[in-house]
Symmetry: none
Subunit: 228 residues, 4 copies
DNA sequence: GATGAATGAGATTTCATTCAT
DNA sequence: TATGAATGAAATCTCATTCAT
């Protein structure tokens, strides 16, 4: 048995790398470093910002803490970024590109059952989330703070849900999934479940093993859709 | 057929009023208003704070914005509250008591099928969430900002999940639910799904009708547990 | 003999109080002081600003010097003004209102010869200029620095010149002034002469007595127009 | 009829090239360029500085804007100039030498009536001013900002006025000009009139044609002195 | 000589908190 | 109690100048 063209994916967060939409308009080119030394400094600033943001939160963090962490002068910050928001973009972009590579394998549908695809997706998503858990807390905070950010996130979730909607519809059409489910809402809800559980486990520290988490999430997906 | 003692509940958020745990230590009585005028001022400050927090977020909000919104002098703030955190407590307490009234119906298990209980719980939860959506954004931000707050929320979710865990276990024991599911993780995940979808719809503005949301969530719960 | 309705005035600077046009849009109400104490502080800030601007120039002056001069905290500045430009407006407005009172008498045309009117206007203008010489240096600097300011000043000069143009035309019509003169350019030029000489004497410190200055300027006006 | 040795000149500004006094002490040779490439860089810096000064004003301009405009590195600035003042000198010197060429015609007094001399001087002055209008704005700003600069300018005006004073006195002695005028103040005032009108027309953008301006100014001079 | 990143002193700006009225 | 101005520590931001390459 095979999953049709429409791939199933799990989670409804930024972690999806397949249909990538930049989180914020790419104004990151305030001043691109032209030398190797410049690139090093910029990189260390971004790395430092991530550390500070994860430690103190975005809003509570101070520019001077970032430059201190990066071992450079206050003024150097402004060589590359106009303000805290701009370096945040750079941090997010850095994490996003990092997350394109792991997980989310382009599974060959033919040789995979829908259940296997779901399991693999869940595993990949959860693993990626784990790696960036602290950053996720920041994104959560920002979404809650900034309406613009909130809207953006909503739009991304939708794009993602749309894909899963097609996949569910396809399974329903082929008589493989519960036909009484609203495919769009179901897609949204199941993704939300995965994303939220990853948050609860890796950000809130709920004591559930990664393995058991993926296992149970997959079983819940399969059951919920009444696969087969 | 009846649901056993262990009641099924949905959602993993603050909305549950049954096993209420104060969100922050109750030091809110910085200075209780002694006169009628004092009570009026305090009330208007709390109302203003809620407006400002919902508009600007807790962290980004300024004390002067609150007093301005309340049409009173800056100094008056300190007559009733020691700082922003303290008025936040008052805001939350005000909202919680408001939430308790419509909230969580005491369903009589004997005369209800598990499915009916789930449906009623979902409906009640979603309705309550809708009423307090904006406040939920603030709580979300706080959880993301403050580790203490995060821990607190984790503990509350756990307490809540524990109850549902017992209910699921009971159903499994009675051969009414999928025995292969980890009851604790499943309870957590399904609650997370409901809570998160309420957030997505009412806070992020996803265009899904309340009715269809409750319907689909209930179906997903029932399917996921393989009820009957 | 009498001067017709169109009064002759001299100078082409801000000093004219009769047809008053505010120099900058009146956004000075950043926060009007509500108490006596507040008004005192605001006044002392404006006074201090004038001292500092006159001493250091507008661009080179620092906010902290102003608050120091006013014997108040740095933050107090922002209680009343958003930035340096805004307090400048207040300084200018203060000086303008101060200058409405001296000189520029509403001469009764009937009992005055044109020459007497010119003499009186010159005397009044020069006296007022002398009083505000240091501020004039600042305005000069600003006109040279800021195109917006420059335009504004140009507009005011025009309004002023228009009035004098009418007066000259009237004298020409009555056969009392050189008919070959372009009344607009002549009005402008003679005003410029007075204004500039006041600047040269009181701002640049050229050693010419006020009396002789007024005398000579008046004679030059009279001659230039070939009065009578 | 001829004008005596004492030539009549108009204007009281820097535009007079005949009795040139360096505006600032000539320390401009911070580091003379030694190579062809060096000379090119220096030239482009001076040209850029003029553009930036004219656009932003001297005080508000930033060194980095100059180097950016010159398409060279920040550090290169210090190869040729110690600071902003030093490059200002270079800009002024460059402009002055440019001004000298068209400037102040050596009129042969014998074959010219005083009126013709005045007309020619006015025309020459106004034409030269027009060419350097933007630079004049900068000089105006400097005079208003820097007392040293102000004093310098005063001294130059005086030297200039002295010459015209002699010419007027001469005319008075020969019964050709109003004997009641104070020759020094009159010389100063009439020059100021010309200089200021040039500023008003070419810097502030007053809409008066160059031809009509020269015509009217000349007529005002002639009338004011009661020539003939 | 040219480059452009690094520096950090100093300026502006914010805002929770205090306090005199 | 209510008021709203005053405070000043702390944060952000600017930019002339230095310096390693």
């Amino acid at each position: 048995m095979r999953v049709s063209e429409a791939q199933l994916s799990v989670g409804n967060e930024e972690l999806d790398g397949t249909d990538h939409v930049p989180l914020l308009s790419d104004t990151s080119g305030h001043k691109r470093p032209l030398t190797v030394r410049g690139a090093r400094t910029r990189d260390s600033l971004v790395a430092a910002a991530r550390v500070v943001f994860e430690r103190d939160g975005f809003l509570a963090s101070r520019l001077t803490d970032i430059t201190a962490e990066a071992h450079c002068a206050t003024g150097s910050f402004y060589t590359y970024f106009a303000n805290k928001e701009e370096i945040l973009q750079a941090v997010i972009q850095g994490a996003e590109s990092e997350m394109l590579h792991p997980g989310m394998p382009r599974l060959e549908p033919e040789d995979q059952s829908p259940e296997a695809v779901i399991a693999a997706s869940n595993a990949a998503y959860v693993a990626a989330y784990k790696k960036n858990a602290k950053l996720m807390v920041i994104l959560e905070q920002l979404a809650a703070s900034d309406p613009k950010f909130r809207q953006l996130r909503a739009r991304r979730s939708q794009a993602f849900a749309n894909r899963n909607t097609r996949a569910i519809k396809d399974l329903q059409d082929r008589g493989l999934a519960d036909p009484t489910l609203d495919p769009y809402v179901a897609a949204f809800a199941l993704s939300a479940m995965v994303g939220r559980m990853a948050y609860i486990v890796f950000c809130l520290g709920e004591d559930i093993s990664e393995e058991r988490l993926v296992e149970t999430l997959t079983r819940l997906w399969v059951n919920a859709l009444r696969l087969k």
